[in-house]
Symmetry: C2
Subunit: 279 residues, 2 copies
Protein backbone atom coordinates (compact mmCIF):
# COMPACT_ATOMS: atom_id res chain seq x y z
CA UNK A 1 0.00 0.00 0.00
CA UNK A 2 1.75 3.16 -1.10
CA UNK A 3 -1.01 5.46 -2.23
CA UNK A 4 -4.06 7.18 -0.83
CA UNK A 5 -7.05 8.45 -2.83
CA UNK A 6 -9.74 10.62 -1.19
CA UNK A 7 -10.54 8.26 1.73
CA UNK A 8 -8.74 5.00 1.04
CA UNK A 9 -5.30 3.47 1.05
CA UNK A 10 -4.45 1.79 -2.27
CA UNK A 11 -1.71 -0.12 -3.99
CA UNK A 12 0.49 2.19 -6.06
CA UNK A 13 -0.83 0.81 -9.36
CA UNK A 14 -4.39 1.66 -8.32
CA UNK A 15 -3.51 5.36 -7.99
CA UNK A 16 -5.49 6.33 -11.08
CA UNK A 17 -7.88 9.12 -11.99
CA UNK A 18 -10.56 9.21 -14.66
CA UNK A 19 -9.78 11.40 -17.66
CA UNK A 20 -12.64 13.75 -16.73
CA UNK A 21 -10.52 14.99 -13.82
CA UNK A 22 -9.68 18.66 -14.30
CA UNK A 23 -5.94 17.88 -13.98
CA UNK A 24 -6.11 16.02 -17.31
CA UNK A 25 -8.78 18.21 -18.89
CA UNK A 26 -7.32 21.61 -17.99
CA UNK A 27 -4.06 21.12 -16.09
CA UNK A 28 -5.88 22.28 -12.94
CA UNK A 29 -4.32 20.86 -9.76
CA UNK A 30 -1.94 21.76 -6.95
CA UNK A 31 0.58 19.53 -5.24
CA UNK A 32 3.45 19.39 -2.81
CA UNK A 33 6.42 17.09 -2.51
CA UNK A 34 8.69 16.17 0.38
CA UNK A 35 11.10 13.46 1.47
CA UNK A 36 11.38 11.07 4.35
CA UNK A 37 14.54 10.11 6.22
CA UNK A 38 14.26 6.95 8.34
CA UNK A 39 10.52 7.17 7.74
CA UNK A 40 10.33 10.72 9.09
CA UNK A 41 8.83 13.32 6.72
CA UNK A 42 11.23 16.26 6.50
CA UNK A 43 9.80 19.71 7.23
CA UNK A 44 6.27 18.31 6.88
CA UNK A 45 4.68 21.30 8.62
CA UNK A 46 6.13 23.71 6.06
CA UNK A 47 5.04 21.48 3.18
CA UNK A 48 1.49 21.00 4.46
CA UNK A 49 1.15 24.74 5.14
CA UNK A 50 2.21 25.44 1.56
CA UNK A 51 -0.12 22.73 0.22
CA UNK A 52 -3.12 24.35 1.92
CA UNK A 53 -2.02 27.78 0.69
CA UNK A 54 -1.72 26.43 -2.89
CA UNK A 55 -5.21 24.90 -2.66
CA UNK A 56 -6.69 28.19 -1.46
CA UNK A 57 -4.80 29.92 -4.27
CA UNK A 58 -6.60 27.77 -6.85
CA UNK A 59 -9.97 28.13 -5.04
CA UNK A 60 -9.89 24.43 -4.10
CA UNK A 61 -11.01 23.10 -0.72
CA UNK A 62 -9.00 20.47 1.17
CA UNK A 63 -11.70 18.48 2.97
CA UNK A 64 -9.23 17.16 5.53
CA UNK A 65 -7.72 19.18 8.35
CA UNK A 66 -3.95 19.61 8.57
CA UNK A 67 -3.70 17.10 11.45
CA UNK A 68 -5.77 14.45 9.62
CA UNK A 69 -3.57 14.80 6.56
CA UNK A 70 -0.41 14.42 8.65
CA UNK A 71 -1.86 11.26 10.25
CA UNK A 72 -2.68 9.79 6.82
CA UNK A 73 0.83 10.58 5.59
CA UNK A 74 2.46 8.93 8.59
CA UNK A 75 0.24 5.85 8.12
CA UNK A 76 1.11 5.79 4.39
CA UNK A 77 4.85 5.92 5.15
CA UNK A 78 4.41 3.01 7.59
CA UNK A 79 2.45 0.94 5.07
CA UNK A 80 4.94 1.64 2.27
CA UNK A 81 7.87 0.19 4.25
CA UNK A 82 10.17 2.74 2.60
CA UNK A 83 12.54 4.52 4.94
CA UNK A 84 13.68 7.05 2.35
CA UNK A 85 10.68 8.04 0.21
CA UNK A 86 9.27 10.90 -1.82
CA UNK A 87 5.73 11.84 -0.81
CA UNK A 88 3.60 13.64 -3.37
CA UNK A 89 0.28 15.05 -2.32
CA UNK A 90 -2.00 16.35 -5.07
CA UNK A 91 -5.38 18.08 -5.05
CA UNK A 92 -7.14 18.37 -8.41
CA UNK A 93 -10.12 20.28 -9.79
CA UNK A 94 -12.10 17.03 -9.59
CA UNK A 95 -14.36 15.14 -11.97
CA UNK A 96 -15.84 18.05 -13.85
CA UNK A 97 -19.23 17.48 -15.50
CA UNK A 98 -18.49 19.99 -18.28
CA UNK A 99 -14.69 19.48 -18.41
CA UNK A 100 -14.18 23.11 -17.47
CA UNK A 101 -15.67 24.06 -14.09
CA UNK A 102 -14.11 22.65 -10.90
CA UNK A 103 -16.04 19.96 -9.02
CA UNK A 104 -15.35 18.12 -5.74
CA UNK A 105 -11.53 17.91 -5.62
CA UNK A 106 -9.68 14.61 -5.79
CA UNK A 107 -6.95 14.17 -3.17
CA UNK A 108 -4.22 11.74 -4.20
CA UNK A 109 -1.11 10.95 -2.14
CA UNK A 110 1.70 8.72 -3.36
CA UNK A 111 4.78 7.40 -1.60
CA UNK A 112 7.64 6.22 -3.81
CA UNK A 113 11.39 5.66 -3.71
CA UNK A 114 13.27 8.93 -4.19
CA UNK A 115 16.70 9.87 -5.47
CA UNK A 116 18.53 12.77 -3.92
CA UNK A 117 21.65 14.60 -5.06
CA UNK A 118 24.85 13.07 -3.72
CA UNK A 119 28.09 14.49 -2.37
CA UNK A 120 29.60 13.76 -5.79
CA UNK A 121 26.87 15.86 -7.44
CA UNK A 122 27.80 18.68 -5.05
CA UNK A 123 31.51 18.41 -5.91
CA UNK A 124 30.82 18.43 -9.66
CA UNK A 125 28.32 21.32 -9.52
CA UNK A 126 25.74 22.23 -12.15
CA UNK A 127 26.21 23.79 -15.55
CA UNK A 128 23.05 25.72 -16.40
CA UNK A 129 21.48 27.89 -19.07
CA UNK A 130 19.10 30.82 -18.68
CA UNK A 131 15.76 31.26 -20.43
CA UNK A 132 13.27 34.15 -20.49
CA UNK A 133 10.02 32.92 -18.98
CA UNK A 134 7.73 33.64 -16.05
CA UNK A 135 5.78 30.79 -14.43
CA UNK A 136 2.03 31.37 -14.25
CA UNK A 137 0.60 31.88 -10.75
CA UNK A 138 4.15 31.43 -9.41
CA UNK A 139 3.24 31.49 -5.68
CA UNK A 140 0.97 28.47 -6.15
CA UNK A 141 2.61 25.05 -6.51
CA UNK A 142 0.50 23.93 -9.46
CA UNK A 143 1.15 21.15 -11.98
CA UNK A 144 1.92 23.41 -14.94
CA UNK A 145 5.53 22.60 -15.92
CA UNK A 146 4.84 22.53 -19.64
CA UNK A 147 7.66 24.98 -20.40
CA UNK A 148 10.16 23.07 -18.25
CA UNK A 149 9.40 19.75 -19.95
CA UNK A 150 9.20 21.38 -23.38
CA UNK A 151 12.70 22.87 -22.89
CA UNK A 152 14.32 19.48 -22.19
CA UNK A 153 15.61 19.00 -25.77
CA UNK A 154 17.24 22.45 -25.60
CA UNK A 155 18.89 21.58 -22.28
CA UNK A 156 20.20 18.37 -23.76
CA UNK A 157 21.56 20.19 -26.81
CA UNK A 158 23.32 22.72 -24.57
CA UNK A 159 24.49 19.93 -22.20
CA UNK A 160 22.91 21.84 -19.32
CA UNK A 161 21.88 20.33 -15.99
CA UNK A 162 19.11 22.83 -15.40
CA UNK A 163 17.54 26.02 -16.68
CA UNK A 164 17.19 29.32 -14.82
CA UNK A 165 14.21 31.52 -15.68
CA UNK A 166 14.44 35.29 -15.91
CA UNK A 167 12.03 37.99 -17.03
CA UNK A 168 12.88 41.55 -18.09
CA UNK A 169 16.47 41.09 -16.91
CA UNK A 170 15.49 39.84 -13.41
CA UNK A 171 16.18 36.21 -12.48
CA UNK A 172 13.45 34.29 -10.64
CA UNK A 173 13.89 30.52 -10.17
CA UNK A 174 14.55 27.13 -11.75
CA UNK A 175 11.56 24.99 -12.75
CA UNK A 176 11.88 22.99 -9.51
CA UNK A 177 14.50 24.88 -7.46
CA UNK A 178 15.24 28.30 -6.02
CA UNK A 179 18.36 30.28 -6.83
CA UNK A 180 20.80 32.04 -4.49
CA UNK A 181 23.88 34.15 -5.11
CA UNK A 182 26.72 35.14 -2.83
CA UNK A 183 27.91 38.61 -3.70
CA UNK A 184 31.57 39.65 -3.79
CA UNK A 185 31.05 41.34 -0.39
CA UNK A 186 29.72 38.04 0.99
CA UNK A 187 26.02 38.70 1.23
CA UNK A 188 23.57 35.89 0.55
CA UNK A 189 20.85 37.10 -1.85
CA UNK A 190 17.82 35.34 -3.31
CA UNK A 191 14.95 36.61 -5.49
CA UNK A 192 11.95 37.98 -3.60
CA UNK A 193 9.22 38.16 -6.26
CA UNK A 194 7.36 36.00 -8.80
CA UNK A 195 8.72 32.74 -7.42
CA UNK A 196 7.55 29.68 -5.52
CA UNK A 197 8.75 30.02 -1.94
CA UNK A 198 10.71 26.78 -1.49
CA UNK A 199 10.85 25.03 1.86
CA UNK A 200 14.59 24.39 1.47
CA UNK A 201 14.97 28.08 0.53
CA UNK A 202 13.19 29.06 3.75
CA UNK A 203 15.43 26.82 5.87
CA UNK A 204 18.62 28.00 4.14
CA UNK A 205 17.63 31.64 4.65
CA UNK A 206 16.96 31.05 8.34
CA UNK A 207 20.17 29.16 9.01
CA UNK A 208 22.32 31.56 6.95
CA UNK A 209 20.91 34.61 8.75
CA UNK A 210 22.76 33.45 11.87
CA UNK A 211 26.09 33.64 10.04
CA UNK A 212 25.91 36.38 7.40
CA UNK A 213 23.94 39.19 5.79
CA UNK A 214 20.89 37.88 3.96
CA UNK A 215 18.75 39.77 1.43
CA UNK A 216 15.54 38.91 -0.42
CA UNK A 217 15.36 41.22 -3.46
CA UNK A 218 15.50 41.40 -7.25
CA UNK A 219 18.72 40.11 -8.86
CA UNK A 220 19.62 41.12 -12.41
CA UNK A 221 21.15 38.65 -14.85
CA UNK A 222 24.27 40.86 -14.80
CA UNK A 223 24.59 40.58 -11.02
CA UNK A 224 24.09 36.82 -11.33
CA UNK A 225 26.88 36.45 -13.86
CA UNK A 226 29.28 38.43 -11.66
CA UNK A 227 28.40 36.74 -8.37
CA UNK A 228 31.16 35.18 -6.25
CA UNK A 229 29.11 32.00 -5.83
CA UNK A 230 25.76 30.74 -7.11
CA UNK A 231 23.72 27.77 -5.92
CA UNK A 232 20.26 26.29 -6.10
CA UNK A 233 18.09 24.73 -3.41
CA UNK A 234 15.38 22.08 -3.63
CA UNK A 235 13.88 19.22 -1.66
CA UNK A 236 15.78 16.52 -3.55
CA UNK A 237 18.97 18.51 -4.29
CA UNK A 238 19.30 20.31 -0.95
CA UNK A 239 22.09 22.80 -1.93
CA UNK A 240 23.83 22.39 -5.27
CA UNK A 241 26.56 24.73 -6.57
CA UNK A 242 26.16 26.37 -9.99
CA UNK A 243 29.59 26.46 -11.59
CA UNK A 244 28.74 27.50 -15.15
CA UNK A 245 25.99 29.73 -16.57
CA UNK A 246 25.47 30.09 -20.34
CA UNK A 247 29.09 28.92 -20.79
CA UNK A 248 30.53 31.47 -18.35
CA UNK A 249 32.45 29.98 -15.44
CA UNK A 250 31.22 31.20 -12.02
CA UNK A 251 33.96 31.89 -9.43
CA UNK A 252 36.74 29.36 -10.08
CA UNK A 253 34.34 26.78 -11.54
CA UNK A 254 34.23 24.79 -8.30
CA UNK A 255 31.82 24.78 -5.34
CA UNK A 256 32.41 28.03 -3.41
CA UNK A 257 33.54 28.17 0.21
CA UNK A 258 30.37 29.75 1.57
CA UNK A 259 28.16 27.38 -0.45
CA UNK A 260 30.10 24.46 1.03
CA UNK A 261 29.65 25.71 4.59
CA UNK A 262 25.91 26.22 4.01
CA UNK A 263 25.65 22.71 2.53
CA UNK A 264 27.31 21.13 5.53
CA UNK A 265 25.14 23.17 7.90
CA UNK A 266 22.05 22.08 5.98
CA UNK A 267 23.01 18.39 6.28
CA UNK A 268 23.35 18.96 10.03
CA UNK A 269 19.95 20.65 10.09
CA UNK A 270 18.38 17.59 8.40
CA UNK A 271 20.06 15.29 10.94
CA UNK A 272 18.91 17.36 13.90
CA UNK A 273 15.37 17.53 12.49
CA UNK A 274 15.22 13.75 12.20
CA UNK A 275 16.77 13.31 15.65
CA UNK A 276 14.37 15.75 17.30
CA UNK A 277 11.35 13.94 15.81
CA UNK A 278 12.71 10.45 16.59
CA UNK A 279 13.41 11.29 20.19
CA UNK B 1 -17.93 1.50 -25.32
CA UNK B 2 -17.17 5.19 -25.61
CA UNK B 3 -13.45 5.45 -24.99
CA UNK B 4 -10.20 4.25 -26.51
CA UNK B 5 -6.86 3.94 -24.71
CA UNK B 6 -3.63 3.21 -26.64
CA UNK B 7 -4.86 0.07 -28.44
CA UNK B 8 -8.21 -0.85 -26.90
CA UNK B 9 -11.82 0.24 -26.83
CA UNK B 10 -13.09 0.73 -23.28
CA UNK B 11 -16.19 1.73 -21.37
CA UNK B 12 -16.16 5.42 -20.50
CA UNK B 13 -15.60 4.76 -16.78
CA UNK B 14 -12.46 2.75 -17.60
CA UNK B 15 -10.86 5.78 -19.28
CA UNK B 16 -8.33 6.30 -16.50
CA UNK B 17 -4.63 7.04 -16.29
CA UNK B 18 -2.17 6.36 -13.52
CA UNK B 19 -1.02 9.41 -11.57
CA UNK B 20 2.54 8.94 -12.88
CA UNK B 21 1.32 10.13 -16.28
CA UNK B 22 3.03 13.39 -17.20
CA UNK B 23 -0.37 15.07 -17.72
CA UNK B 24 -0.99 14.80 -13.96
CA UNK B 25 2.64 15.21 -12.91
CA UNK B 26 3.53 18.20 -15.09
CA UNK B 27 0.48 19.25 -17.12
CA UNK B 28 2.21 17.83 -20.20
CA UNK B 29 -0.29 16.73 -22.87
CA UNK B 30 -1.92 17.88 -26.10
CA UNK B 31 -5.47 17.30 -27.23
CA UNK B 32 -8.08 18.18 -29.80
CA UNK B 33 -11.85 18.33 -29.67
CA UNK B 34 -14.54 18.12 -32.33
CA UNK B 35 -18.23 17.36 -32.71
CA UNK B 36 -20.30 14.86 -34.61
CA UNK B 37 -23.58 15.54 -36.41
CA UNK B 38 -25.60 12.44 -37.24
CA UNK B 39 -22.52 10.44 -36.31
CA UNK B 40 -20.31 12.34 -38.76
CA UNK B 41 -17.24 14.02 -37.25
CA UNK B 42 -17.21 17.66 -38.37
CA UNK B 43 -14.05 18.91 -40.08
CA UNK B 44 -12.16 15.85 -38.80
CA UNK B 45 -9.29 16.35 -41.26
CA UNK B 46 -8.57 19.83 -39.89
CA UNK B 47 -8.76 18.57 -36.31
CA UNK B 48 -6.50 15.58 -36.87
CA UNK B 49 -3.98 17.74 -38.75
CA UNK B 50 -3.89 20.13 -35.81
CA UNK B 51 -3.62 17.22 -33.33
CA UNK B 52 -0.52 15.88 -35.10
CA UNK B 53 0.94 19.41 -35.25
CA UNK B 54 0.32 19.88 -31.51
CA UNK B 55 2.02 16.54 -30.75
CA UNK B 56 5.08 17.51 -32.82
CA UNK B 57 5.05 20.88 -31.05
CA UNK B 58 5.41 19.13 -27.65
CA UNK B 59 8.01 16.64 -29.05
CA UNK B 60 5.52 13.77 -28.66
CA UNK B 61 5.10 11.00 -31.21
CA UNK B 62 1.67 9.76 -32.32
CA UNK B 63 2.26 6.06 -32.98
CA UNK B 64 -0.80 5.82 -35.19
CA UNK B 65 -1.05 7.21 -38.69
CA UNK B 66 -3.70 9.78 -39.53
CA UNK B 67 -5.84 7.21 -41.38
CA UNK B 68 -5.68 4.68 -38.52
CA UNK B 69 -6.75 7.35 -36.06
CA UNK B 70 -9.69 8.33 -38.28
CA UNK B 71 -10.76 4.68 -38.49
CA UNK B 72 -10.61 4.32 -34.69
CA UNK B 73 -12.66 7.50 -34.26
CA UNK B 74 -15.34 6.32 -36.70
CA UNK B 75 -15.50 2.96 -34.92
CA UNK B 76 -15.73 4.73 -31.54
CA UNK B 77 -18.61 6.90 -32.75
CA UNK B 78 -20.41 3.77 -33.96
CA UNK B 79 -19.87 1.95 -30.67
CA UNK B 80 -21.00 4.95 -28.61
CA UNK B 81 -24.41 5.09 -30.33
CA UNK B 82 -24.36 8.89 -29.95
CA UNK B 83 -25.39 10.81 -33.05
CA UNK B 84 -24.32 14.19 -31.63
CA UNK B 85 -21.13 13.74 -29.62
CA UNK B 86 -17.99 15.54 -28.52
CA UNK B 87 -14.81 13.64 -29.35
CA UNK B 88 -11.72 14.44 -27.32
CA UNK B 89 -8.40 12.98 -28.38
CA UNK B 90 -5.49 13.43 -25.98
CA UNK B 91 -1.81 12.49 -26.16
CA UNK B 92 0.14 12.75 -22.92
CA UNK B 93 3.80 12.69 -21.92
CA UNK B 94 3.26 9.11 -20.74
CA UNK B 95 4.13 7.20 -17.57
CA UNK B 96 7.33 8.96 -16.63
CA UNK B 97 9.78 7.00 -14.47
CA UNK B 98 11.13 10.17 -12.84
CA UNK B 99 7.91 12.24 -13.03
CA UNK B 100 9.68 14.78 -15.23
CA UNK B 101 10.99 13.33 -18.49
CA UNK B 102 8.51 12.23 -21.18
CA UNK B 103 8.07 8.50 -21.77
CA UNK B 104 5.97 6.50 -24.27
CA UNK B 105 2.88 8.72 -24.79
CA UNK B 106 -0.60 7.62 -23.74
CA UNK B 107 -3.31 8.12 -26.37
CA UNK B 108 -6.80 8.50 -24.93
CA UNK B 109 -9.94 9.18 -26.95
CA UNK B 110 -13.35 9.80 -25.40
CA UNK B 111 -16.76 10.22 -26.98
CA UNK B 112 -19.42 11.93 -24.88
CA UNK B 113 -22.68 13.86 -25.24
CA UNK B 114 -22.01 17.48 -26.16
CA UNK B 115 -23.91 20.73 -25.71
CA UNK B 116 -23.68 23.39 -28.40
CA UNK B 117 -24.78 27.00 -28.36
CA UNK B 118 -28.40 27.47 -29.47
CA UNK B 119 -30.18 30.03 -31.65
CA UNK B 120 -31.36 31.65 -28.39
CA UNK B 121 -27.71 31.97 -27.24
CA UNK B 122 -26.98 33.69 -30.55
CA UNK B 123 -29.89 36.14 -30.12
CA UNK B 124 -28.85 37.03 -26.57
CA UNK B 125 -25.14 37.41 -27.38
CA UNK B 126 -22.26 37.34 -24.91
CA UNK B 127 -21.20 39.89 -22.36
CA UNK B 128 -17.45 39.55 -21.83
CA UNK B 129 -14.54 41.00 -19.90
CA UNK B 130 -10.92 41.43 -20.96
CA UNK B 131 -7.84 40.25 -19.07
CA UNK B 132 -4.12 40.74 -19.69
CA UNK B 133 -2.59 37.30 -20.27
CA UNK B 134 -0.75 35.37 -22.96
CA UNK B 135 -1.24 31.59 -23.23
CA UNK B 136 2.00 29.58 -23.12
CA UNK B 137 2.97 27.85 -26.37
CA UNK B 138 -0.21 29.30 -27.92
CA UNK B 139 0.04 27.49 -31.28
CA UNK B 140 -0.04 24.12 -29.52
CA UNK B 141 -3.40 22.87 -28.22
CA UNK B 142 -2.11 21.79 -24.82
CA UNK B 143 -4.03 21.12 -21.60
CA UNK B 144 -2.82 24.20 -19.71
CA UNK B 145 -5.99 26.22 -18.99
CA UNK B 146 -5.04 27.03 -15.42
CA UNK B 147 -5.56 30.77 -15.91
CA UNK B 148 -8.96 30.25 -17.57
CA UNK B 149 -10.23 28.04 -14.74
CA UNK B 150 -8.62 30.24 -12.11
CA UNK B 151 -10.45 33.31 -13.49
CA UNK B 152 -13.92 31.71 -13.21
CA UNK B 153 -14.76 33.41 -9.86
CA UNK B 154 -13.86 36.80 -11.40
CA UNK B 155 -16.09 36.07 -14.42
CA UNK B 156 -18.94 35.16 -12.09
CA UNK B 157 -18.45 38.33 -10.06
CA UNK B 158 -18.50 40.43 -13.23
CA UNK B 159 -21.45 38.40 -14.62
CA UNK B 160 -19.40 37.77 -17.76
CA UNK B 161 -19.99 34.92 -20.21
CA UNK B 162 -16.36 34.72 -21.27
CA UNK B 163 -12.98 36.41 -20.99
CA UNK B 164 -10.89 37.85 -23.81
CA UNK B 165 -7.11 37.82 -23.39
CA UNK B 166 -4.89 40.69 -24.51
CA UNK B 167 -1.20 41.46 -24.09
CA UNK B 168 0.50 44.82 -24.41
CA UNK B 169 -2.70 46.35 -25.82
CA UNK B 170 -3.18 43.67 -28.52
CA UNK B 171 -6.10 41.23 -28.23
CA UNK B 172 -5.44 37.56 -28.92
CA UNK B 173 -8.19 35.03 -28.13
CA UNK B 174 -10.61 33.62 -25.57
CA UNK B 175 -9.53 30.59 -23.52
CA UNK B 176 -11.45 28.27 -25.90
CA UNK B 177 -12.54 30.55 -28.77
CA UNK B 178 -11.15 32.89 -31.40
CA UNK B 179 -12.21 36.52 -31.71
CA UNK B 180 -13.27 38.47 -34.82
CA UNK B 181 -14.25 42.09 -35.34
CA UNK B 182 -16.11 43.78 -38.17
CA UNK B 183 -14.75 47.26 -38.69
CA UNK B 184 -16.90 50.31 -39.43
CA UNK B 185 -15.88 49.99 -43.10
CA UNK B 186 -17.09 46.37 -43.09
CA UNK B 187 -13.86 44.44 -43.07
CA UNK B 188 -13.64 41.16 -41.17
CA UNK B 189 -10.50 41.13 -39.01
CA UNK B 190 -9.08 38.49 -36.66
CA UNK B 191 -5.79 38.34 -34.72
CA UNK B 192 -2.86 36.77 -36.56
CA UNK B 193 -0.31 36.10 -33.80
CA UNK B 194 0.08 34.31 -30.47
CA UNK B 195 -3.18 32.39 -30.79
CA UNK B 196 -4.42 28.87 -31.36
CA UNK B 197 -5.61 28.63 -34.96
CA UNK B 198 -9.19 27.44 -34.51
CA UNK B 199 -10.84 25.15 -37.05
CA UNK B 200 -14.06 27.18 -36.93
CA UNK B 201 -11.92 30.32 -37.38
CA UNK B 202 -10.37 28.79 -40.49
CA UNK B 203 -13.76 27.90 -41.97
CA UNK B 204 -15.24 31.30 -41.15
CA UNK B 205 -12.27 33.06 -42.77
CA UNK B 206 -12.60 30.95 -45.91
CA UNK B 207 -16.35 31.41 -46.30
CA UNK B 208 -16.23 35.15 -45.45
CA UNK B 209 -13.46 35.76 -48.00
CA UNK B 210 -16.02 35.05 -50.74
CA UNK B 211 -18.23 37.91 -49.54
CA UNK B 212 -16.04 40.60 -47.99
CA UNK B 213 -12.56 41.90 -47.22
CA UNK B 214 -10.79 39.71 -44.69
CA UNK B 215 -7.63 40.56 -42.71
CA UNK B 216 -5.46 38.59 -40.29
CA UNK B 217 -3.49 41.12 -38.24
CA UNK B 218 -2.99 42.66 -34.79
CA UNK B 219 -6.06 44.30 -33.25
CA UNK B 220 -5.66 46.80 -30.41
CA UNK B 221 -8.09 46.87 -27.48
CA UNK B 222 -9.12 50.35 -28.67
CA UNK B 223 -10.03 49.06 -32.14
CA UNK B 224 -11.96 46.22 -30.51
CA UNK B 225 -14.01 48.58 -28.36
CA UNK B 226 -14.88 50.70 -31.39
CA UNK B 227 -15.69 47.84 -33.76
CA UNK B 228 -19.05 47.76 -35.54
CA UNK B 229 -19.52 44.11 -34.58
CA UNK B 230 -17.57 41.57 -32.53
CA UNK B 231 -18.03 37.82 -32.37
CA UNK B 232 -16.27 34.65 -31.26
CA UNK B 233 -15.92 31.28 -32.94
CA UNK B 234 -15.46 27.81 -31.49
CA UNK B 235 -16.35 24.19 -32.14
CA UNK B 236 -19.26 24.14 -29.69
CA UNK B 237 -20.36 27.78 -30.08
CA UNK B 238 -19.94 28.11 -33.86
CA UNK B 239 -20.38 31.92 -34.15
CA UNK B 240 -21.57 33.88 -31.13
CA UNK B 241 -22.03 37.68 -31.07
CA UNK B 242 -20.26 39.74 -28.40
CA UNK B 243 -22.64 42.51 -27.37
CA UNK B 244 -20.87 43.94 -24.31
CA UNK B 245 -17.17 44.24 -23.41
CA UNK B 246 -16.06 45.47 -19.97
CA UNK B 247 -19.51 47.07 -19.61
CA UNK B 248 -19.34 48.94 -22.93
CA UNK B 249 -22.14 48.09 -25.37
CA UNK B 250 -20.87 47.01 -28.80
CA UNK B 251 -22.87 48.30 -31.77
CA UNK B 252 -26.50 48.51 -30.66
CA UNK B 253 -26.09 45.70 -28.12
CA UNK B 254 -27.67 43.12 -30.42
CA UNK B 255 -26.21 40.59 -32.88
CA UNK B 256 -24.87 42.56 -35.87
CA UNK B 257 -26.11 42.11 -39.43
CA UNK B 258 -22.87 40.77 -40.85
CA UNK B 259 -22.38 38.43 -37.86
CA UNK B 260 -25.90 37.08 -38.47
CA UNK B 261 -25.23 36.46 -42.17
CA UNK B 262 -21.95 34.66 -41.34
CA UNK B 263 -23.74 32.57 -38.71
CA UNK B 264 -26.41 31.46 -41.19
CA UNK B 265 -23.78 30.72 -43.82
CA UNK B 266 -21.83 28.67 -41.27
CA UNK B 267 -24.92 26.60 -40.39
CA UNK B 268 -25.32 25.91 -44.13
CA UNK B 269 -21.64 24.95 -44.33
CA UNK B 270 -22.14 22.42 -41.51
CA UNK B 271 -25.18 20.98 -43.29
CA UNK B 272 -23.40 20.69 -46.60
CA UNK B 273 -20.36 19.08 -44.91
CA UNK B 274 -22.58 16.44 -43.31
CA UNK B 275 -24.48 15.93 -46.56
CA UNK B 276 -21.34 15.55 -48.64
CA UNK B 277 -19.95 12.91 -46.24
CA UNK B 278 -23.27 11.06 -45.91
CA UNK B 279 -23.80 10.86 -49.67
Amino acid sequence: MSAYLNDSFLENDEAMLHVSDLSMQRGYAVFDFFRTINGIPLFITDHLDRFYASAIGLHLIVRKKNGELATIIHELIKRSSLSEAGIRIMLTGGYSSDNYHPAEPNLLITCNPVKTATGADFERGYSIITHEYQRELPHIKNINYIMAVWLQPLMKEKQADDILYFRNGIITEFPRSNVFIITKDKKLVTPAHNILAGVTRKNVLAMAAEKMDVEKRDITTEELMNAAEVFLTSTTKRILPIVKIDNKIIGNGKPGKITTVLYQTFLELEDSFVESVSR
